[in-house]
């Protein structure tokens, strides 16, 4: 789960203590993985058929191949036709994390249980229950992902292949067929604010809503999807392991759309997509201001697959959020200064991945979170802009057709996450007075080494 932490959309000015940022930064190294050997058992396929790096998840996301994207769109229902397989997998991740400031730690950072597989030719799903290390040998268990699908395949429209599906899921964009939205690829900009579609932004809908979308794929190239979401009651969020402080609020008039063109040329793949999410948000509930929020974005991606010896994946997404706030408020330090009634937030993500022999790889990401200035909402600098980079290298020894072990998989990775701008500043990001200790963006940098096993 990349960039889980440094988002705090400031409805009210909230100073950012360094310890808070550092504690949350530890979560950057958690896997966010979606490697599911149960799917490999179900289909007879290798992990490498669906994932460029033979092991999905972790920093850099699942890295789905076109075949993996089709498996997802097909509702996780493909099979080798050889009996029913148990649709259960597990993953354990041990992580050594070394933040630029603060103590290094080594622990079992995450344990995951997946219920993932097909029920029939038309019904399948993906459910992930995640136990995150929270310190002192304690773990917090949450229901991270739900994506239950019904699909009608082998249909014909105008003589062309046509697929019609329904997804019931708990994160807008998790079911993304292009794997370009942050909820599906787990790569998102970090910062003090973020769009609704940024799965790691604070008070984001991700994992705390339930919704349904209807989607269609025409001629294997043209994709369309519409749907709606509603937030779960705070009591249910609590039962599912979530801190209610991250409640996305009471949502109404929520609409989601996704349109895309994708072209699979076997040795190359290209996609371009449009996405939108709009809602009216009451936060806090029961009398809080009602904000009108609309995300609109586009994304493009390219893959060179060749004969799978060298795989290159490039992806860029650009999402602009328009906010019309339901209230304004005065600055605590200057009662004559009021927050603005409208604002924009802008998330951009550029990632490049290279994988050799589906085993050795490097991921480089450039993550930008920007927004319109607001001296009251974005204290102390009035500017939420954040720039971060991700660099990750990994080795996946198994998961290929000729692998010695076929019942499980292993991934070793080293990741460096660095910040060059935070709170709109490249140094002294909390505007410490002269003589006081300063915090720089680089103080949030973190290096980690992780080992994940899945079976």
């Amino acid at each position: 789960m990349l960039s889980t932490t440094l988002h705090r959309a400031t409805r009210r000015p909230r100073p950012w203590p360094l310890w808070c940022a550092l504690a949350l930064l530890l979560l950057l190294v958690s896997g966010g993985a979606q490697a599911v050997p149960a799917y490999a058992r179900q289909t007879g396929s290798s992990c490498a058929d669906c994932h460029a790096a033979a092991y999905g998840g972790g920093n850099g996301g699942p890295m789905l191949t076109p075949y993996g994207l089709r498996f997802k769109m097909g509702g996780y229902t493909d099979t080798d036709g050889n009996g029913t397989k148990i649709p259960v997998s597990m993953q354990l991740t041990e992580t050594h994390s070394a933040p630029a400031k603060g103590d290094s730690t080594t622990n079992l950072s995450e344990g995951d249980l997946y219920l993932a597989g097909r029920v029939s030719d038309n019904v399948g799903g993906f459910v992930k229950v995640e136990a995150d290390h929270t310190g002192h040998d304690t773990y917090n268990t949450i229901l991270r992902n739900v994506d239950l699908r019904f699909v009608a395949k082998e249909l014909k429209v105008a003589g062309k292949e046509f697929l019609l599906g329904v997804s019931v899921n708990n994160s807008p964009g998790f079911d993304d067929p292009l794997n370009a939205l942050s909820a599906s690829n787990t790569v998102s900009p970090a910062g003090v604010t973020g769009t609704l579609l940024n799965f790691s932004a604070s008070n984001a809908p991700a994992s705390r809503v339930i919704g349904a979308t209807v989607y269609a794929l025409f001629d294997n190239n043209w994709y369309g999807e519409v749907g709606t979401y509603n937030s779960m009651p705070t009591s249910l969020q609590d039962h599912l392991g979530y801190n209610v402080a991250g409640d996305p609020g009471k949502l109404s008039d929520t609409g989601y759309f996704r349109f895309a063109y994708m072209k699979d040329m076997k040795s190359q793949y290209f996609s371009a997509g449009l996405v939108g999410l709009t809602t009216k948000r009451e936060l806090p509930r029961n009398g809080g201001p009602k904000d009108d929020i609309t995300d609109l974005g586009y994304d493009v991606s390219y893959q060179y697959l060749g004969d799978r010896e060298h795989i290159v994946q490039l992806s860029y997404s650009n999402i602009l959020e328009k906010r019309k706030y339901g209230s304004t408020f005065a600055s605590p330090s200057d009662p004559t200064l009021f927050s603005r009634s409208r604002g924009n937030v802008h998330d951009q993500t550029l990632t490049a991945t290279y994988v050799f022999k589906q085993s050795y790889g490097v991921v480089v990401g450039h993550l930008l979170s920007t927004g319109s200035p607001d001296p009251v909402r974005y204290t102390p600098n009035g500017n939420p802009d954040t720039t971060a980079n991700l660099i990750s290298v990994f080795w996946v020894p198994f998961g290929k057709d000729d692998s010695y072990i076929t019942w499980g998989n292993l991934k070793l990775s080293a990741t460096w996450f660095r910040f060059t701008k935070f709170n709109g500043a490249t140094n002294n990001i909390f505007a410490a007075p002269v003589g006081a200790p300063m915090t720089n963006p680089g103080d949030f940098n973190a290096f980690s080494v992780a080992a994940s096993v899945a079976f």
């Binding site: 007879g44 493909d78 080798d80 036709g81 050889n82 060749g306 057709d401």
Partner: protein, 131 residues
């Protein structure tokens, strides 16, 4: 004279034996290049490992094999009905050079066909080496 007849006789015998032992109807493609074609075009749904089925059946020994003949694979009724089909090199060439749903309506296989004759020859030659 007798030696010449002996040499001719041995040569003929070698040719006949060679023809008998050669992969059935193998084409004159490049097996190494065919292995790359297999990775690009086929490997997501098939392996060439014996007994390892994916979404599609194992292609181990496919050249010369009777259609729909792997016991533990769930073939489509459309392919099971082709009781007279044998996957000779020529048959594979015909089948794979067009959309397979056109070659065999009702099949579960999804493939738009390979329109590069050289690549197809290479592929089938490669498949012929997997025995």
């Amino acid at each position: 004279m007798r030696v010449t007849k002996l040499i001719l006789g041995i040569s003929a015998a070698v040719l006949v034996l060679g023809a008998m032992l050669a992969p059935p109807l193998a084409l004159a493609g490049d097996a190494s290049a065919g292995a790359d074609v297999f990775k690009k075009e086929c490997s997501e749904c098939h392996t060439t490992k014996e007994g390892r089925n994916k979404k599609g059946p194992s292609l181990f020994g496919i050249v010369g094999r009777k259609a729909a003949s792997i016991p533990d694979f769930n073939y489509s009724d459309a392919l099971r009905a082709r009781t007279d089909w044998v996957w000779t090199a020529d048959k594979l060439h015909w089948y794979l050079s067009q959309p397979v749903k056109q070659a065999n309506p009702g099949t579960k296989m999804k493939y738009d066909g390979l329109d590069d004759p050289k690549a197809l020859d290479d592929l089938i030659t490669y498949l012929g080496t997997n025995h």
